[in-house]
């Protein structure tokens, strides 16, 4: 009985292993009478569920006030100038006036690039370094939060 079973096992396993390779499957399981064999490719992840359950959240993440439209790559761009404070960003010194900067402008370190209004105070935001403005990530009169990328200076 034991011999017979072992014989069956070996032959069957070899067959299954060959099929596994030919078909490029990761796992085969067969059942015959009271015998069940599973052949699986070693090292292949078999997880049905993620190893750590994602935090159960009834609600989706809220719309962060001003960040929804910001491209993800700009967020991580080390050349981006980020908002040092919360407030409303203005691109020109007065409504209708010419903007401080445009895409393609050369800026000098310390030059005002935009204004953030907070608590009725206009805060001039200086360029942290000299360079060329390649992107403006905020629109005029839009709210910004702390750390939000404003412009990119290359």
């Amino acid at each position: 009985m034991a011999d017979k079973k072992q014989g069956i096992d070996q032959a069957l396993i070899r067959d299954l292993a060959n099929i596994l390779n030919e078909t490029d499957l990761t796992e085969i399981e067969v059942e015959q009478d009271d015998l069940r064999i599973r052949v699986s490719r070693a090292g292949t992840p078999q997880y049905v569920q993620a190893p750590i359950a994602a935090p159960a959240l009834a609600a989706a993440a809220p719309a962060a006030v001003a960040t929804a439209a910001t491209p993800a790559d700009a967020r991580s761009n080390k050349n981006a100038v980020t908002a040092p404070m919360v407030g409303t960003a203005y691109l020109s010194p007065a409504p209708g006036a010419r903007p401080f900067i445009e895409v393609g402008s050369q800026v000098k370190e310390g030059q005002t690039i935009l204004i953030i209004e907070a608590m009725k105070t206009m805060n001039q935001i200086p360029a942290p370094r000299s360079g060329k403005v390649t992107e403006i990530l905020v629109s005029d009169a839009s709210p910004v939060e702390y750390g939000e990328p404003l412009i990119v200076i290359e």
């Binding site: 750590i52 359950a53 994602a54 935090p55 159960a56 959240l57 009834a58 609600a59 993440a61 809220p62 719309a63 962060a64 006030v65 001003a66 404070m85 919360v86 407030g87 409303t88 907070a118 608590m119 709210p143 910004v144 939060e145 702390y146 750390g147 939000e148």
Partner: protein
């Protein structure tokens, strides 16, 4: 009316306030530091604003940024939670100047109660019992007369003092002369000033506090007491409502004194009058002009949502209850779950790998924690509060024992094992403890 509330806090209390706002149909704005971008209160809020880097000073304590966040979101009210800016009179004034409602008392009341001396004077004027003491300096010549008036034992303290120096206890008249002269010479050596004053000495007091809510127009109620005697380094660890030490008559008497005082003061919002309690007498310590961490045990035994009441009175709608409507039902205990080693109390920030909150009848968990949440190292270690309610203290304790075994927080150390230990202690079972009990107990345990 209030239509959008900015919650100027983080952690479990931000979530607590958010829940009340949602129930009242009020829009919510969460503010957060860069370290809290993944926090639960941020995820559940209608809008969020990042207000600064991790240090509290530059984010949660930054008035300028918080007011700017109100402006860009159009929030018409701010709930400060507890801690941070909740007892900052200047913050209340600035919001007022910007036409934003501060969900709390007036700046004037915050200021009065924030100063030890004016708080005690005001309490006394309002008829609240204070620790009896000498009005001003005590000289060796008049010490006996003053001490007899106060009643022994008495404590002699340096007027310039602090840190336990220049402090001596006189248990009886026989000790008095020596206590006064030692305190005076210690005071002179330590502070260059030998002036001392005298106070009633309390050897084994309990910490009992009365919850009050006022509408700011001369109406106020009390919601009974909380016993917060189990403390470690002046941090409350375990709180109960009602106190195992008070009977109905005592409860209603001290409660009424506090409610009457708040009516006279025209106090607005939730507040807590804290007392030391010994031998049937109450002695005022301070008043907290905000929501307390342990407020849920009062909610459990009264069924009244304190944050709802805060928002109501801030919007001018008045209180939803009269004193005669308030009924105390059963018993509630709160355990503060800290991310700390349960023996050494060393903070244990890190990632929570598994989180299972207990459930069942009479169980409430207020926590911003979840599986995969990383506890930032910048803020306090409170990660959740477990509140258990039962029809009486015995049922409450039995339920708490069951619930503590059910609560799972893996990946960090928490104070859960401390509570599993306390629930089996005979003194705790008997409600027989004072403000020194826990520290003595922990010290003896370490020695053993």
């Amino acid at each position: 009316m209030i239509s959008k509330v900015l919650i100027a806090n983080r952690g479990e209390i931000a979530l607590r306030v958010l829940r009340a706002c949602k129930e009242l149909g009020i829009a919510t704005v969460a503010v957060h530091s860069t370290a809290d971008a993944d926090a639960m209160h941020v995820r559940l809020a209608d809008e969020s604003v990042c207000i600064g880097p991790p240090p509290s000073r530059e984010s949660y304590l930054n008035i300028h940024q918080i007011v700017a966040a109100c402006e860009i979101t159009g929030a018409d009210a701010v709930h400060p939670g507890y801690g941070f800016l909740s007892e900052n009179a200047k913050f209340a004034e600035i919001l007022d100047a910007h036409g934003i409602t501060f969900i709390g008392p007036t700046a004037e009341h915050i200021r009065i109660m924030g100063d030890k001396i004016t708080a005690k004077q005001t309490a006394q004027e309002l008829g609240i019992p204070v620790v009896p003491g000498s009005d001003g300096e005590v000289k060796p010549e008049n010490a006996l007369e003053v001490a007899r008036k106060i009643g022994f034992p008495v404590l002699i303290k340096a007027t310039a003092g602090g840190g336990g120096r220049g402090m001596k206890v006189a248990k009886t008249e026989a000790d008095l002369d020596e206590a006064v002269s030692t305190a005076r010479s210690e005071a002179l050596a330590a502070f260059g000033n030998d002036a001392v004053y005298m106070e009633k000495y309390l050897g084994k007091p309990r910490h009992i506090e009365i919850q009050v809510v006022g509408d700011g127009m001369g109406n106020a109620v009390h919601l009974g007491e909380r016993d917060c005697s189990l403390q470690r380094r002046h941090q409350k660890v375990w709180e109960e409502a009602n106190s195992p030490a008070l009977n109905v008559e005592q409860r209603m008497k001290i409660g009424q004194i506090c409610a009457d005082a708040m009516k006279k003061l025209k106090y607005r919002g939730a507040g807590t009058v804290e007392f030391l309690y010994e031998n049937g007498e109450f002695y005022f310590i301070e008043m907290n002009t905000r929501l307390q961490v342990e407020h849920p045990i009062t909610e459990a035994i009264t069924g009244i949502d304190l944050v709802h009441e805060q928002i109501r009175v801030a919007s001018g709608a008045g209180l939803s209850v009269r004193q005669e409507d308030i009924v105390f039902s059963g018993h509630a205990i709160e355990c503060r779950i800290n991310a700390e080693d349960p023996r050494t109390f060393v903070p244990s920030p890190g990632t929570i790998t598994h989180f299972h909150a207990p459930g069942g009848l009479g169980v409430r968990v207020d926590s911003g924690a979840y599986q995969g949440y990383r506890i930032p190292p910048y803020y306090d270690s409170l990660i959740g509060k477990l509140i258990v309610h039962g029809r009486n203290r015995v049922e409450c304790m039995m339920r708490l024992r069951r619930v503590l075994d059910e609560f799972v927080i893996d990946g960090i150390k928490t104070t859960l094992p401390l509570f599993q230990d306390l629930i089996g202690n005979q003194d705790i079972a008997n409600g027989d403890y004072d403000i020194h009990w826990l520290e003595d107990y922990l010290a003896n345990k370490t020695d053993a």
